[in-house]
């Protein structure tokens, strides 16, 4: 028996040795990593991971990041975000905006073509947008079309497609009438939901977007092949009007839905870009090949103001000020997350070029002393001897759990309140949050288009996104003005005002702004990630 033990130990040591062999710095061979699809296309091929199968390449249906990553490079709308993240001419070469700001006339490029040779016409946009707003389509992006005259009515089944404010003046001229002057309409148009659809192809084959053979592109790349749930191959679209700016010959996409595997494939040279797993963040994040860009959005916690003790604004503020965002961002979330001391994330510039965040400054800052005072005041106002029990809810996820536990600790330490934690699966969580069944719950917001009102309007009375029970007439009015004011300077004033009001009333409190972090192989450049979440490979290059 003793002998056996010796052998076992010896075996274990061997095993451990094998497991610890230092990494050999071998050349970047690709022999068995090369995919069969990839070999078929010569030249500069960027290798990316999309995580999972795109939901749909039908622009009205594929309303999520896994679809946008691809769609934003296959199709192109009237405007496209440039390197400075502002809308630039794309299919529309130029446009005129009427005096009152409600009518846009777009002139489409003569040389804007589809990959099958058809020319891109105004009717392609009209077809796509009518589909987007048609209640029969069941698009979850429909609300984006409400800026267009008659959009909301049509989408809610009251109006008709003929009443929509979109008309083709001629084959290459599109006139769009809006409900209100919408200063950021060109931004909205960059969303993939507004991409055109080749109406001739679509009328013949409604499922044109489902397979590579029938897909027609008008963007920098076209869809060469698509093995569902497995891989995709894009090649340069020779019909694209700006094909000379496209430096890649193709993009090979895999669908690997495991962040560790993705990173290991990157290490092995099978991918050109990868996310950084949280456990490796400390080692990798400071490298030269790491690209960090802002993503418009906010992680925050919602109070339910219809339940005790959060009907009281002072108690809400006490909770908010007891949470140290710096600490959470740096030690819990890591990956250079930015602590949030306001609600609107940085990166939105007003007409005079100032950042929204800089103008309004830090409006929610960690202050345990003030928090204690506010809590006392609040408890007095409500006549509480003891604070009612509070449960903090989050949807099941490792990072969410770490953040929630940290907040639990901070509340206990800074204001002496012990909260209970509760987690549920996403779908259940969302349902409960909407039904106001939570007291204090984890939330997140990602922008659909680059204007602060996109986020701020969530908290108007009765909004689907509100989910706090909070309602304030002055706030509602400010947002209504921010959506309809023609004078941009005034419009921004309304938004500043609205954000300050959120800090005053605190129906929610901020945790951090989102960012997009990736490691890139040497020689990979110009992968553009916009704060609104779309990936642009038009200018990407690989040595």
């Amino acid at each position: 028996m003793k002998k056996g033990l010796v052998y076992l130990v010896g075996f274990l040591v061997l095993f451990a040795l094998a497991a610890c062999t230092a990494k050999e710095s071998a050349g970047t061979e690709e022999e068995n990593g090369a995919a069969n699809e990839k070999e078929a296309v010569e030249g500069k091929i960027l290798q990316l991971n999309n995580g999972e199968e795109p939901t749909s390449f039908d622009p009205a249906i594929g309303f999520d990041n896994v679809s946008w990553n691809a769609l934003n490079n296959l199709l192109e709308g009237l405007t496209r975000l440039g390197e400075d993240h502002t809308p630039q001419p794309a299919v529309a070469e130029e446009w005129e905006i009427s005096e009152d700001g409600t009518t846009y006339t777009f002139h489409l490029r003569e040389d804007a073509n589809w990959s099958n040779g058809d020319t891109v016409v105004a009717e392609d946009f009209i077809y796509a947008w009518k589909r987007l707003l048609n209640p029969e389509t069941g698009s979850s992006a429909g609300f984006l079309g409400y800026f267009i005259k008659g959009g909301e009515a049509f989408n809610s089944g009251e109006g008709s497609a003929d009443d929509l404010g979109i008309t083709a003046v001629d084959e290459k001229t599109l006139k769009v009438e809006l409900e209100n002057p919408t200063g950021f309409f060109l931004h909205v148009l960059t969303n993939p939901a507004f991409f055109p659809v080749n109406h001739k192809v679509a009328e013949e084959n409604p499922e044109w977007h489902a397979e590579a053979d029938s897909f027609v592109a008008n963007g920098p790349f076209k869809l060469e092949s698509w093995k569902h749930d497995n891989e995709m191959m894009f090649t340069k679209n020779e019909e694209y009007w700006d094909v000379d700016s496209v430096r890649l010959d193709g993009v090979h996409w895999v669908m690997v839905n495991d962040i560790n595997t993705e990173y290991q494939m990157f290490e092995r040279g099978e991918l050109d870009s990868a996310e950084i797993p949280a456990e490796l963040s400390d080692q990798v994040i400071d490298g030269d090949n790491v690209q960090i860009v802002d993503q418009g959005g906010l992680e925050f916690y919602r109070f339910n103001v219809t339940e005790e003790p959060f009907q009281n604004a002072n108690i809400r503020k006490a909770f908010a000020l007891a949470v140290d965002q710096e600490n959470i961002a740096e030690y819990v979330v890591k990956n250079k997350a930015k602590p949030a001391h306001g609600f609107v994330s940085p990166g939105f510039t007003n007409p005079s070029g100032e950042d929204f965040r800089d103008v309004n400054g830090e409006i929610v800052s960690f202050d345990p002393e003030e928090a204690k005072k506010l809590l006392e005041e609040g408890m007095q106002e409500e006549g509480y001897e003891e604070l009612p029990r509070v449960t903090l809810s989050y949807n099941t996820d490792n990072v969410n759990k770490d953040v929630a536990e940290t907040i639990q600790g901070m509340l206990s330490e800074n204001i002496g309140v012990d909260v209970e934690l509760e987690n549920t699966e996403w779908n259940v969580f969302l349902e409960d949050q909407k039904a106001l069944k939570h007291q204090l719950s984890r939330s997140s917001f990602l922008y659909d288009y680059a204007d602060p009102v996109n986020f701020l309007e969530s908290f108007i009375t009765g909004s689907y996104m509100n989910r706090t029970g909070w309602s304030n007439e002055t706030y509602d009015e400010l947002i209504a003005n921010a959506k309809s004011e023609a004078d941009e300077v005034k419009r921004w004033e309304y938004m500043y005002e609205a954000e300050k009001m959120l800090a005053e009333e605190m129906p929610l409190f901020p945790i951090r702004y989102y960012n997009q972090v990736e490691v890139l192989q040497e020689g990979v450049t110009n992968i553009l990630r916009h704060p609104v979440g779309y990936l642009d490979l038009k200018y990407a290059d690989k040595q």
Binding site: E53, P135, F143, H228, D229, N260
Partner: protein, 310 residues
């Protein structure tokens, strides 16, 4: 025999019906819906979608429609990926999962039995200790840990194998190793202990005394009996391997069925939940049935059917 098979088939259908019904009940009772999203859609759109997938019908009607779709084996389109039908997904994913599963079983049985036999023959010698040490490790290391370890060492550091995906035989080695190690270890331990027992039996001594070649004794006489317990646990192992593939497929980005099974539940994609559940349970039930049949063939002492009393 035929009567027995017929009876079993009926039982199988009944089991399947119970599973389908339970799944349906669970499906409609869990909160959330496939159209639940951060951004709300307005009511017109919502009700259109629900009508399209018959979700506005009373439960009993939905249930009948489900039974119908199972009977005709046509589950319709997925809700989340409307341009894909569930049949497309099963048709794409199943061959790959099956390939992964079947090779894993073959590898596990062959290597497990070999290891077990050698350990038994060299009882209390080095080989025995090595093999059993290996088996203990194999049983105690979960497959997803082993998978990560294999990728890091053999794919990333030594660059012997590709990291992930399912393209060529070299791509298959790591996932199959990760998945097969656990079952292999169980089989090896089982084989060893029954083999030890069998080797002390009188008929083996008899065979030896008759001067039969050692390999003949082992292969023809000992092994056949020693394998019985292995066949017995095959059913459980099969279920284990099937569920193991969910994790392994994710880690190695194998485009099999596991993803649909897991994701569909998270997304409340009802047709896909139904399709994968029915498919998996039918598959497992049939496999268990085959194991039982094989049992009867291997061991004549086990009667598959009761002969009527004379």
């Amino acid at each position: 025999m035929l009567r027995y098979v017929g009876k079993r088939l009926l039982m199988m259908l009944l089991t399947l019906w119970v599973i389908v019904s339970l799944t349906f009940v669970l499906m409609v009772t869990i909160p959330g819906s496939p159209f639940n999203s951060e951004r709300g859609t307005n009511e017109a759109v919502q009700s259109n979608l629900e009508a399209h997938y018959n979700l506005d019908e009373p439960y009993i009607v939905q249930y009948v429609l489900y039974l119908k779709s199972i009977a005709t084996f046509d589950f319709g389109p997925s809700i989340k990926q409307p341009s894909q039908t569930v049949n497309d997904m099963l048709g794409r994913g199943f061959p790959i999962s099956f390939e992964l599963g079947i090779i894993t079983i073959i590898v596990a049985v062959i290597s497990g039995v070999t290891l077990g036999v050698f350990a038994a023959l060299k009882h209390n010698q080095i080989i025995d200790y090595l093999a059993m040490g290996f088996a203990v490790l194999g049983i105690s290391i979960p497959n997803f840990v082993l998978a990560t370890l294999l990728i890091q060492q053999l794919a990333v550091n030594l660059e012997w194998f590709p990291v992930a995906r399912w393209l060529s035989p070299t791509h298959m080695i790591l996932p199959i190793t990760a998945l097969a190690t656990g079952p292999m270890a169980i089989i090896a331990r089982l084989t060893r202990s029954t083999m030890l027992e069998v080797l002390t039996q009188d008929y083996i001594k008899m065979a030896r005394a008759k001067g039969l070649a050692p390999w003949k004794i082992i292969c023809k006489h000992a092994l056949k009996n020693a394998l019985m317990p292995v066949v017995t646990i095959m059913g459980t192992l099969l279920a284990g391997i099937l569920t193991g593939t969910f994790v392994i497929e994710k880690i190695f980005a194998v485009p099999g069925m596991g993803k649909y099974f897991v994701e569909s539940i998270n997304q409340r994609d009802y047709p896909v939940i139904m399709g994968t559940t029915v498919f998996y349970s039918a598959f497992l039930i049939i496999m268990l049935f085959l194991v039982d049949i094989a049992y009867g063939i291997l061991d004549p002492r086990i009667k598959l059917h009761k002969k009527g009393g004379k």
